[in-house]
Symmetry: C2
Subunit: 413 residues, 2 copies
Amino acid sequence: MKQSQLFTKTRKEAPADEVSKNAQLLIRAGYVHKEMAGVYSYLPLGLKVIDNLKNIVREEMNNIGGQEISLTALQNKETWERTGRWNDAVVDNWFKTEFKSGGETGLGITHEEPLTAIMAEYIQSYRDLPKYAYQFQTKFRNELRAKSGIMRGKEFLMKDLYSFSRTDTEHAEFYEKASEAYMKVFARAGLGGITMKTFASGGIFSEFSDEFQTISDAGEDTVFVDTEKGISINQEVMESGIGEKLGIDTSKLIEKKSIEVGNIFNLGTKFSDKLDLNYKDEKGEQIPVIMGSYGIGITRLMGTIVEVLSDEKGIVWPESVAPFRAHLLCLSPEEQTVKSLADDIYKELDGAVLYDDREGVRAGEKFADADLIGIPYQIIVGKKSHQDAVEVKNRQTGKTVVKSMTEIIEWLS
Amino acid sequence: MKQSQLFTKTRKEAPADEVSKNAQLLIRAGYVHKEMAGVYSYLPLGLKVIDNLKNIVREEMNNIGGQEISLTALQNKETWERTGRWNDAVVDNWFKTEFKSGGETGLGITHEEPLTAIMAEYIQSYRDLPKYAYQFQTKFRNELRAKSGIMRGKEFLMKDLYSFSRTDTEHAEFYEKASEAYMKVFARAGLGGITMKTFASGGIFSEFSDEFQTISDAGEDTVFVDTEKGISINQEVMESGIGEKLGIDTSKLIEKKSIEVGNIFNLGTKFSDKLDLNYKDEKGEQIPVIMGSYGIGITRLMGTIVEVLSDEKGIVWPESVAPFRAHLLCLSPEEQTVKSLADDIYKELDGAVLYDDREGVRAGEKFADADLIGIPYQIIVGKKSHQDAVEVKNRQTGKTVVKSMTEIIEWLS
């Protein structure tokens, strides 16, 4: 894509009311636009990052048997009344509104209720289980205070998977598989090594749940890390005797701030009981289905990557997530030989790079913009470049190598 | 995908309150789930159809220079107040709700306002124009009466593109390009020949606008068709003298019911004026940007395809849109040789078909289900099949040919 065609531009300053690093950088680089506190639009480069993250998550969810669906934002009040979660005293962050045709509705904060109701129409027998369904869906949460940029919004994109199993054993097996798939997602998204499975409070059905926490000073959570085992314990359960259960000397753990990028909950039969999701077993008995929920905030993941991988010059995307693998910079498009070489490279790569072809922009400005935008490799075409010698700079390390045009094309094709 | 793994099942009856053919068939075949009147969830097969339609539209929008973005559902009241469209007396189908942090918001009915406001931050000079941005976004419209199944919902998916041009000439050129791209979209989606560019009322800025109407008895619109020229005139402008302008003898036109699957509006400077979207021309003068909007209802398009292409047995998908190109039916999986042959075909095709591997289901039921689901080709593996002779039935024509396994694999790979 030609940068002269891209409708966004970089800017020197983020909006004054934007305090988080992730939103500041993403706005300055033209990835997102702030509509209101906690509500962000995704512009061309930003949507590419989101799509890359979705594809990583989609592949891993498909690998463990997930079937992709798309539930609605508008929620059926009656279904939520059956689980007691329509009540504002139970769930305090609903956006509620009214149908002109009569009756109330609310915007989906999460989707256990509607999916359980759908499954009750399709699951009758033990032969129909286990099943796993997931979606990428906008969630709406009426937070009193939006903070942390795109990491905690009032409207945000989430991948939520729900599992439906016959027995605790079957549930536990899938839970473990999903947990492994989550670690693969975070590794592929560039957060490997600093993201760990974390023991946290489990809610009603189990003592503990699994969180996935990425170590970062921008985090809102506090975890205690066992660096050897690569796991951690959320502060909220440190006093519960979890250390002994896991065989860990909690006095040796290291306290860190962290960002919750994913979680897994054992829901037991809480929703199945209330929404009549049962199956008939081999003996003909009606048994409630055992459920689990598995979330990854896609927009939060994007924000986390920016928080932990950026430097003083701007964003540093991992290759797997970057809007483009390479940023082709033509430093002096006014000179015909320079422009021809850059044009040739762009053409040979079939437009699959971001091509800074802008005229009337100084080289220094192009470098600064490219560093802010954070595409992993910069292909620099200037007056000294020729077919056999073009500089390629690694955005993260700052190191430069010289490659021929042929090598560059082979590498990126 | 194995049908035994798919969590949906076909059903004999649609919900009693569902009167439209498209929703009845889509619900019975397991593509969609009705949450409430005018609010539908998309299940695994349904989401695949939506994704196929999105990909067709995306390719054609990219081809004419569109840049994909994703705007928000929650709308900034202040922006809409500037154009006067926050007022319920002006726009009567808002879903409005309140932030717990204070202030009102509404759910996006359309996105002219937020995108114009974003563009005002990026467009300063004539060098920044023209630009085209589009999105696939859920729209929310608080309709008093939901009807026509997924063709007119309270929550539905739409592709909306907006153009930003310097001059009327530049606008008209893009308008024509977009109109051609739309015809390509409808042809690729299986609605070629029965979808025509239709002259309709134009709103404030031009006498006429372009609608794209698909001839169907299920339609809510009435158009007068010139079969020779392949265009039509919406009833609403028949008395306007349009016939003379177009050189058409309106007395010879044929009256038809039709479904509006797309539209293009010339917005002129209506939004630019109110939201300060100007550019500086070569002489340094501030000029308002000329805008257009270009919509295709993705879920409506899906419903239209079902309305016009289904038969008494069920849905008939065009290949470009179908959830799978072929439906592999193993008629007697209990018999080892039959099952082996079907398994082999499935394996060689890398799972890229819907494979009815269900045990304990009669052949007649499998045929009926396959016809209802409407995948274009049925590969039928029964007792008489062998490696050199497998029946392949065309869902639309009902005609059967016999192919070898090798031929089938080559054809579908």
